[in-house]
Every structure is written in structure tokens, then in C-alpha cells.
Symmetry: C2
Subunit: 231 residues, 2 copies
């Protein structure tokens, strides 16, 4: 079997891609593990729509076909990321107001539907239990429960094929994520992490997400390619 | 405490409402159990859009505020209900082609998000393991796994409030469902079950769903109020 054939027979994996630093790293990791990546971005009425542009750039750079699924979560409300609640610029205790109700449950369920259509037995999601410990749906126990559910929910599960949810970032610090992605050649200038990036994808430099990202590059000892707005 | 106060303090429940016979019955059952119902319909690009009109009629008749969440599942494809695959008019073995990938997983996840926003600890879904045994996501084991997941996924779960998924129809035959709804005063002429109803909500009388519904009214010994098209 030559290399081309081997590549075309690579098992498919659905990658939840947000356009941020984490999921761009996950995409590179899935490919490095021998999967053929099928990135899925959910357009859930983000205030930071530049995220979707970033997802397009990241998928294009990886030569992977991006699927964008529109789901307007503003209809159910409940989060600063989709409502008109002000994004906090100070660190907060407990569950942040930027929490989107049932976000990862919904994202994984859409990924599960796409995986079923593709015949993929793998879903990759960039959840992280270190920097975002305030989100209940980023914990390993949640992911294990989801995997169990997925194998009861689908034809593949019924027919005995095991579906796995991969969370390669779950125990990594932001600096470790950045170093891993750097070694895999991820171009982080394509990604947007900021909760309130401008239309050109430039970051505010002040929100929680910007602060975590900036500190990550510093701790990794790597140059921060983020484009910041002049504000 | 007078009746009005008691009603306004009723615990909230999210009801997945499709406009069909089953979910209309579930809505009436939730109310009879003392819940204040918040029906949620998902506009997932159904070919039979008359279902959504029916959901509106059913919610209106129950005096409950219907939330409609648009989610175009045609973007991920894979089912005769959203693609241009022909709807089968003969009974089929195993998992039907009308299966929507990860449908109940996705619906329950959206209901979970809405429940979280409302502060509701109950979700009602009209799954049934008798007539639709070909769907893996209608089995009791699936619902139990979902309940477990939901309690790991959300703020409420983290804070020790237990969320429950109610499936009052799961062990009932179609005739038993119809008899129960009839006793609760459900007006089945408002509902549409047909996979290919016309724009006025008239049923084809030939698809799987029509056949099961018609046989249900016959077995229940009740008049079938379904409006059939002349075709």
C-alpha cells in the first residue's frame, strides 16, 4: 500500500473547530494521530463572528473541508457570549457568565450527528479542565458520560462499533497546548481567542480569554502572533 | 395559598413538542403531573413543515408559550426526513431510513440548554420503545444515560439539583397513548403525524407514521380526527 492509499483510508474524525487556539491545536493533533479530519464549526449566533472566519482560515490551512452548522442559540439566551450582557474584564469565581447553556453537550451532539453521517467513529473536542475549570461540561466525568451516551444513541453503537470522544487538551496548561501546536506547525496567527474581537479578528487584549492566551505564549516562551486592536 | 398562586409556583418543565400526536399527549401529561409546561419545537429543516404549524396550535390550545429553535440539520444530511430520499411506504426492517442522525441526542441537548436558562429541572420527551423500536435513541438505556450526562453537564447538576428526563410514553402502545390523551382532553385534530403532510397539514394516509396512527385510533376504539389529503 502506498502513502496516497494509506492517507485516503485514514479513519475519519469530526473535529469541533471554533477558530480559537485550542481547537486549531486539536485539529493538528488529530491529523498527527493518523485521522482524516472533518472540522465542524457551529454558528451559534456568536457576538465574536470573527471566530468563524478564523475557523475557515484554520481549516483551509489544514486542507480540511469545514462544515458550518447554523444554530441560533440566542433564541434560548442565557450567556454573555450570545446576549447583550457585558463581557467581564476581571477574573470571576465559579461558573463564568460567559457560560453558554449546555454548550458542549449541544456541540458534541451535533458532532455526533455529523459523525454518523460520515461513518466516523471519532470526535475531537478541545475541552480543557485546567484553565476553564468553572465550566461543568469541561470535566473528564462529563466526557466519559457523553461517550457512554453516544454509544447507546447511534446505529454504529447498536452495531457494535465503538465511538470515541478524544480530548487531547484536557490536562494541558495553555503553555503546553501552545508548545504542542507549535511543534505540529500550527499557525496561531490564523486563530482568534478574544471574546470581543473586532471585525478584522483583532483581539481586545483585556477579556479573560485574551489574558489566558497572552500568558500562555509568555509561559511557553514563544512569540505571541496575536493581532491586538488599538483600543 | 390559592389556586392561582399554586399554579404560578408550579415547577417548570421543558416539553419537546413536534406537533405530532405523541408530544401533544406528553404536554397534557406534564401539566396533569403539576408542571408548568414550556414547549420547545426544533425547526430542523423538516420536509413536513406543517408539523411546526401543528406545534403552534397544540401549544396555543394548552396556553403554553412555544419556543421554536431553528437548526438546519440538512447541512449534515443523512435522513429521508430532511434529504430528498424517498419516504418508504412499506414497513422496513431494522433502523428506518427516516432516522435523523443523533436526533434525540440533539433535541434533548437543546432542551437541556433551554431548561438551564429557565431554571427547569424537568425535560419531557415523547419517545416510545414500542412502535419505533428501530431507533436506538428511543430505548430506556439511552434515556438513563442522557439523564446521567445532563446532571454532569450543567450548573444545576454541579449545584446538586437533580434534572430528570421524563418519558411517559416509553412503554405505551399507540392505542394506550391515544386513550390517555383523550382522557386528558387532547384535541388530536390539531396534531400532524404524517411524514409527508401537505401545506394544510393533511396526511397522506400511506406512510409508516400514518399507518401507525390510524391503527392506534382503531385499536383505541376512538374516532380518528385526522384530516387526510384526497391523493
Amino acid at each position: 500500500m502506498n502513502v496516497m492509499t494509506a492517507q485516503s483510508k485514514a479513519p475519519k474524525a469530526v473535529i469541533l473547530l471554533s477558530g480559537g487556539l485550542d481547537s486549531a491545536t486539536v485539529l493538528a493533533m488529530a491529523r498527527a494521530q493518523g485521522f482524516s479530519p472533518y472540522p465542524l464549526a457551529v454558528d451559534y449566533g456568536q457576538r465574536h463572528r470573527s471566530e468563524l472566519d478564523a475557523a475557515q482560515r484554520v481549516a483551509h490551512a489544514a486542507g480540511a473541508p469545514l462544515k458550518i452548522l447554523p444554530l441560533d442559540l440566542r433564541a434560548i439566551g442565557g450567556s454573555a457570549l450570545t446576549d447583550d450582557i457585558e463581557v467581564p474584564e476581571e477574573e470571576t469565581e465559579g461558573i463564568p457568565v460567559t457560560y453558554v447553556p449546555a454548550r458542549n453537550t449541544i456541540m458534541l451532539s451535533l458532532a455526533l450527528g455529523y459523525a454518523e453521517v460520515l461513518g466516523a467513529n471519532a470526535i475531537f473536542i478541545g475541552v480543557n479542565a485546567v484553565d476553564y475549570s468553572g465550566y461543568p461540561d469541561c470535566r473528564p466525568a462529563f466526557i466519559e458520560a457523553y461517550e457512554r451516551l453516544a454509544n447507546l444513541a447511534t446505529k454504529a453503537g447498536v452495531e457494535g462499533q465503538e465511538l470515541r470522544v478524544y480530548t487531547p487538551l484536557i490536562d494541558l496548561t495553555k503553555a503546553e497546548i501552545i508548545r504542542a501546536g507549535h511543534e505540529l506547525g500550527v499557525d496561531y496567527s490564523l486563530t482568534v481567542s478574544c471574546y470581543q474581537a473586532d471585525a478584522e479578528g483583532r483581539a481586545c487584549g483585556r477579556c479573560d480569554s485574551c489574558r489566558i492566551r497572552e500568558a500562555g505564549f509568555r509561559a511557553a516562551g514563544l512569540a505571541d502572533p496575536t493581532r491586538y486592536s488599538a483600543l
